[in-house]
Structure formats: structure tokens, C-alpha cells
Symmetry: C2
Amino acid sequence: MAEEKKQVEAITSMEEDFAQWYTDIVKKAELIEYSSVKGCMIILPAGYALWENIQKELDARFKATGVENVAMPLFIPEGLLNREKDHVEGFAPEVAWVTMGGGEALTERLCVRPTSETLFCDLYKNIVHSYRDLPKNYNQWCSVVRWEKTTRPFLRSREFLWQEGHTIHETYEEAEERTVQMLNVYADFVKEVLAIPTIRGKKTDKEKFAGAESTYTIEAMMHDGKALQSGTSHNFGDGFAKAFGIQFTGRDNKFNTPFQTSWGLSTRIIGAIIMVHGDDSGLVLPPGVAPLQIVIVPIQQRKAGVMEAAEKLKESLKEFRVKLDDSDRSPGYKFAEQEMRGFPLRVEIGPRDMEAGNCVFVRRDSGEKITVPISEAPEKARELLADIHASLYEKAERHLKECIYPAKTYEEFKDIAENRPGFIRAMWCGETECEEKIKEDTTVTSRCIPFEDNEAISDTCVCCGKKAKHLVIWGKAY
Amino acid sequence: MAEEKKQVEAITSMEEDFAQWYTDIVKKAELIEYSSVKGCMIILPAGYALWENIQKELDARFKATGVENVAMPLFIPEGLLNREKDHVEGFAPEVAWVTMGGGEALTERLCVRPTSETLFCDLYKNIVHSYRDLPKNYNQWCSVVRWEKTTRPFLRSREFLWQEGHTIHETYEEAEERTVQMLNVYADFVKEVLAIPTIRGKKTDKEKFAGAESTYTIEAMMHDGKALQSGTSHNFGDGFAKAFGIQFTGRDNKFNTPFQTSWGLSTRIIGAIIMVHGDDSGLVLPPGVAPLQIVIVPIQQRKAGVMEAAEKLKESLKEFRVKLDDSDRSPGYKFAEQEMRGFPLRVEIGPRDMEAGNCVFVRRDSGEKITVPISEAPEKARELLADIHASLYEKAERHLKECIYPAKTYEEFKDIAENRPGFIRAMWCGETECEEKIKEDTTVTSRCIPFEDNEAISDTCVCCGKKAKHLVIWGKAY
């Protein structure tokens, strides 16, 4: 048959070549397609549906905290980008510049936004006048552009989709509270919806956002032991406000300088979903964002009554994202395709099951087959989807916990970095030089100073031996 | 009091200066803010919430017809843009060019997408191989850039938000069917959700989309009698497919060329909402997209029991988008603000009403006050919101019907164009020259050859007097 050509082909195994496994999955599960625009990807329906579900969930969580959405311009005039010194130093080297418009050279170059702090500052300067105008908790869903040299689908591309929240407050305390609040929104979201455990913590000065006073992060561990920074939240103090001259009349009737935050989560998180849960048969999607939670596959579908029973089953499962695969492909093809695409549950129904009043649920995560009376299908589906979520989380958490190794000496540190995929817990003196040396020696970077499990394991910096200031989680990172 | 400074100020009246009225509204209702980026606007929460509601409604209608969302790159390499002759001629003069990236000059310029036909063709060439891969019904929600010289919020700006659907089909008939289907989705949506009546029809060759075989449009009439093209749907035939070399193996086992469509609706439609329904007190929003459908204003809110009753009322109305305005501003301020922002219903509740077990509904569209027993509030709200929608539509439809004037001679045509705001029904020979002459003489353009009410009103072209081919709807346009 013609479609046999499209039969789902095997993918490289994770153990053999993790990078190739990843690339195979994004292509075979039809998440992306490469484009003629170097370094930019096309997100296909199967990939975009994930992003839509992420957006829907996260947006509701934002709004529950009082966040409002806006749309800012795509472009930043060069003069505006240059206003905050650290920020422009961080971003200018990797921006794309528009120099021509409507057939004419522009008098001032416009960069395509790599992030929008400067635009929000410019807005807040115009609309914040009194303490009564504060806070503003604005967010936008958009794409940003960073001229990366090496790119990989979802993980690093010249254009990516994200949300960026930008808030402005009367006091430092309120800004700090919002910064931590949004980090927790991210941590809860990735746990409760994506089944991904993370380590919450603070970035070192070297790793913090350009222009931020402090950056908080959630760090996830991929199947190969590498870290993926999955969401960040920045407290800007009053640095940007001062650089942009934002002032408001305070309760004291004097001019005050406000405090700002920003926080973002991007399509990188789809890379995390793939690399945390996926296996050698393809994607394994958490039920919270799977475009389809259940796929019904009729067996011997031409036999009398099978399609009717399958339709009836679908109707009974309509509270879920469910599809009946009634194509003329073989059940084997359908099984393989559903596995590649990672849908959490498959339900098989054929003449023999029907006779007994049953259908068969098959879990994507474990492959387990469960025979279920048709009348109990909705209840069982609810239970299984919840259990799949819990199992995915548990497995990922076990992996995360098992692959964090303490290192008290630099020899230990280097040995782990070379031989054991995972994170390293080690003490640090607080100096950027040590971070730089560690990175040069091992390609390992500081991921964060964790909020929890941060008790000292020794008194001295693992690198220089001087007095240690913090326990740091270290790892190789995407 | 400090906030008195922010007391809603009067806006210019529509009759006095319609353009200024429009500008006043977009600012005073806080829909937009101007930005430092010339020609680009910032859409504030009150404006963006409209777009979110439009997206939600329209996206569901798209998906019900089998459309899937994707995300395409922001940039188009110059060589790709140049592939289809008519298309590049139409768009190249108004694009913005990226010439530098990551500190280096690019070897090929990239234009910031003004529309994405070329990118979708490039994708379809890669993923469409067999008739089994057809149709693809893809859409994306994004922003596009066109380097306009004169800009106005929502109506014409250098960057605007829209959706663009791009489909590819096995046969011409299927493409034509999809083209008309999506036009009807737009027409139904603006009628059923935005309460805006439109005239559906076909664009003349002069007015059709660059590269299209035919363009269908829905044309709405603003309060000042001018037209706003509110959504368009294009049948490309196989022109783009040939230019891009897209081929598929057909049911005949031979190479076939597919047929394509595209269709779009943008934030311009927010301009239509403002100019169709607004009045001298501000916005008047259709309930289908109003960010708040009901605002509860407590009267003498410090009196015992008032806030409790207001809270209880809010709870009973939670099936709607409802807010209780418990700020310390005066009821008069709140009324004026709610009117400016155009929320369909206000509910007042104070000690006197409570005693009688009543609350008072006030309609934004008519100002009518209706005393309602508190226990019947949800039912009454449902009824009133439906009636507001119906009234808004009816009023707009009456205006549209009353302001279409037939013209049999060119003298009549010119007289109407000069003296009567509205549309003109007149016969046309089919020649672009006559359209150009009419535009030069009167600034009037052909809006469409309508699908309905298109019976000939004379035998000769209103401009040249030669044999007429079509009845055309003409008008001045935004």
C-alpha cells in the first residue's frame, strides 16, 4: 500500500546518540520542519498544539495573579536599546537590525526585539505618574529574535516564541515578592502540568540576566543528565527605572523611583518535555498538554458493529481530548504512530473485546495493557491519566535525585563532570573567576544557588579552596 | 481628591470631528498608547482583551472547519519573496529589511514578513508529496509589518496583529470551496460576535490581493459612511504552486499541481468595532467580545450591607465576565468610566434598592434603566446582553441599508460621493481604467461585486457608458 512508505520508521536510540535521538523525534513526531530561513524553525501543528496548551494553562495562572496581556512593538530603536548599559552589552551582539523600510534607508536602525525591557520602560515612563498607577503587571505572548550561531529545534533558534512579563511596583519588597511569585508559578506549572521536577534557585552574578539585580531560575534535568533552564524571573531593583527616568508621585507627595521585574518562559520548554519524558519509541507527553489524551484504535474495523462501538466509546470519552483513528491504516501502523507522537492513552476495541463488553487501555508511558468494561471507560481514563502524570513526575524526580552528586574536592568535581551525567552539588566562594575556571576545565556552569537543600557540605570553595559562601548546583547545560 | 485629575474627560463629538473622536476614544478608553517606534502602536490591556476574545471565538470557528495552527518564521529571504512576480510587486515597496545580524552584514537580506504566502509555499513544497498529504489547512496568529507612510491606531500601522490561514488542495473546486467557506466564517463571526453587518462580495482585479486569482471580502460601513474591509479570502488557483514548483502524486499516479488559498482578519476589526458602535460617550462594545460584560457599581458603598449585597450579586452573575468596582471613586466617576470603556451593562445596587430587593441595570447602548429583583439578575442579564447584541446589529444594519445609494449616471455618482456619506451601487464595465478615473475624480474605490442584491440597475457603466458587466458597491474606504 502507498501509505506503507510513510510507516513510522525507527529512531536512533537514546543511549546510542542522544542528540540524534532528539533530532529524530522532533522530525518524526512532526513537531517542526526546517525552513529556508537559517536558524529559524517552523512549528508544525503537533508542536504548536503543545505550545497552545502551555499558553492556555500558563495564561490562566498569570491572570489569577492579576497579570494583564498587552502587545508591544516588534522593533526597538537603537537609541532606546542603548539606554541601560548592562542590558545593551548583553544583547547588542546578538540582535538583528532593520536598516531599510519602505524602500528607504532608516535614519535610526531598529533592532528586532531580543526581549522588551526597554520598550516596557518607555511605556511605563509615559503611563506611570502616581502611586495610584502602580503596580502594572503586564505580559505579552510573542516571538523574539537572537542571532544565535548554532541552533537546535526548540532549544536554541534565532527566533523563538515566549511570554515576557514586565511589572512595575511602588516598593522594592513588592517587586521582590512578584519576582519570587512568578518563579513559583513556573515551578508549579511545570510540575503540575508538564510533570517536570525542577530545582528553584538564584543565579550567580555571572549567569544573571543583563541588567538584573537578581535572577531566579527553575532548572530541570534532561534524560542525559544535562540541565535545561526552564523559566527565569528577574528583579531589576530600580536600575532600569533610573536609566529610563521613570518616576511617580508617591504617598509622600514626592517623586519616587519605582521597582521592576521581568519573567519569561519559552518554547525551550517543549525541548524539556521531549528530553525529560521521551523514550526510544518517541515522544511521551504529559496528559496536561498532550494535543490528544486518548486515541481510540478500532481492531478489525470492517467487522459489523466495531466502528459503531468505537464511536460510542469516543462519545463517552468526550470530556478528554480524544480522537478515533478510523483511517484505513493497519492497527500496527496506528500503534507505532501513536507511540511516536506520545499520546498518553490508546484504547483498542475489537470484536472479541466487545463480546465481553470490554475495551483495552494501553499506557504510553509503561506499555501496560488494562482491560476495562466499556461502561467504566471514562472513570478509568480519568484515573489512568492522573496516574500517568504522577508516574512521569515520579520517574523524572527519581532521575533528578539520583543524578545529583556532591563534590568536596576539585578532583571529585572533575571526575563527576567527566564520568557521571547529572548535576553536582559543591561549595563556592562567590567569585566569578572560579566559575570561569570551572567552565573552562569542565564545560560545567553554575545552574543556581538552590532555595532548598542548600546546607553547606564543606567550608571551602571546591575550586579555589577559599572560604565558601554558597552551596551551588552545577551542571552542563543546554 | 487626587484621582479627580483622572476624571474621565469629555471627548470630541462624532459630528464635530469624526477622526478626532476616533483618536480620543482609543486613547481615553486606554486601548492603545503610542510608542517610540514610529508608526507602531502599543496595545494596552483594554485593547488587547478585545483581541484575545476575538482570537478565542475565531480560532474555535477555524478549528471546527479542520484548521490547524502553526508558527512560521518572522523573516523571508529576499530570494523567496521574489519567487512569485505579482506578489513581490505588490509587497516589496512596503517591506522592512533586516540587513545585519549578530554584528555582521547578511549575505542575503531578510524582509520582515508582510504576509507569509511565500513561506507557506516553501513549507508545502517540502511536506506535500502525495494526494494523501492534502489538504493542509494551516493558520497562524502573528504580527506582520508593512512600512506605511501614514498610520492610525488599529486602522493602519507599520506592525499589526492578524491571523493568516494558508491552505493547499488537490483540486481547484476544493480550494474555491475553502475560500468561500472562510469568507463566510468571517461574515458569520462579525455578525454573531461583533454585531457588525457586512456586504460579502468579490474584489475587482484592481483591488484583489497581489498574486491572487480572486479575492473575496466582507465590507463594513463605519458610522461616517466610509467602508472598512474587514476580512479577505483569496483563491490563488495554482499560480503560487507553479511559481514554487509544488507538485504531488495524484490519484492518477502522475505529478499534479495543487491549488491554494489564504485568508486573513486583523486588528483593523477593532477599528470597526469602535466606528460602527461607538458614540459620544465613548466605546460601545458588543457583549461577545467586551472584556467585561457587566460592571457592578455599589451606591453608598460604605453603608452597612451594601458591599455584601454587591458581592453576592457578583457571585450570582459569575457566568458572565463581571467585575465589582469597589474602588473609592464616586459613582459618577465610575459611571463615566464604564461608559467610556463601553461595557454593555452596569448594575447599580444601593441601600434603597436593597430594601426593595432590587438592583438597577443600565444599558450602555441605550442608557435605559431597568429595575430588576436581585433574584432575577442572572436571567435578566442573559436577556439584556442578548438584546444589546441584537440592538447593536439592528442599528448598524439599518445604517448600512439607509446609506447605500444607487447611481445611474456619473453626475449622480459624483454628487453622492461628494454629499452623502455611504456606499454607492452603480454599474461597471469591468475595465480598470474606469475604476481609476472614478478614484481620481471622487476618491471612491470599488469595494466589491456583491454576492447578494446584485441585480443590474442599468445597462451601462456609470463611468464610461459602455456596456456594463457588474453591479459594484463603491465607497470611500479606511
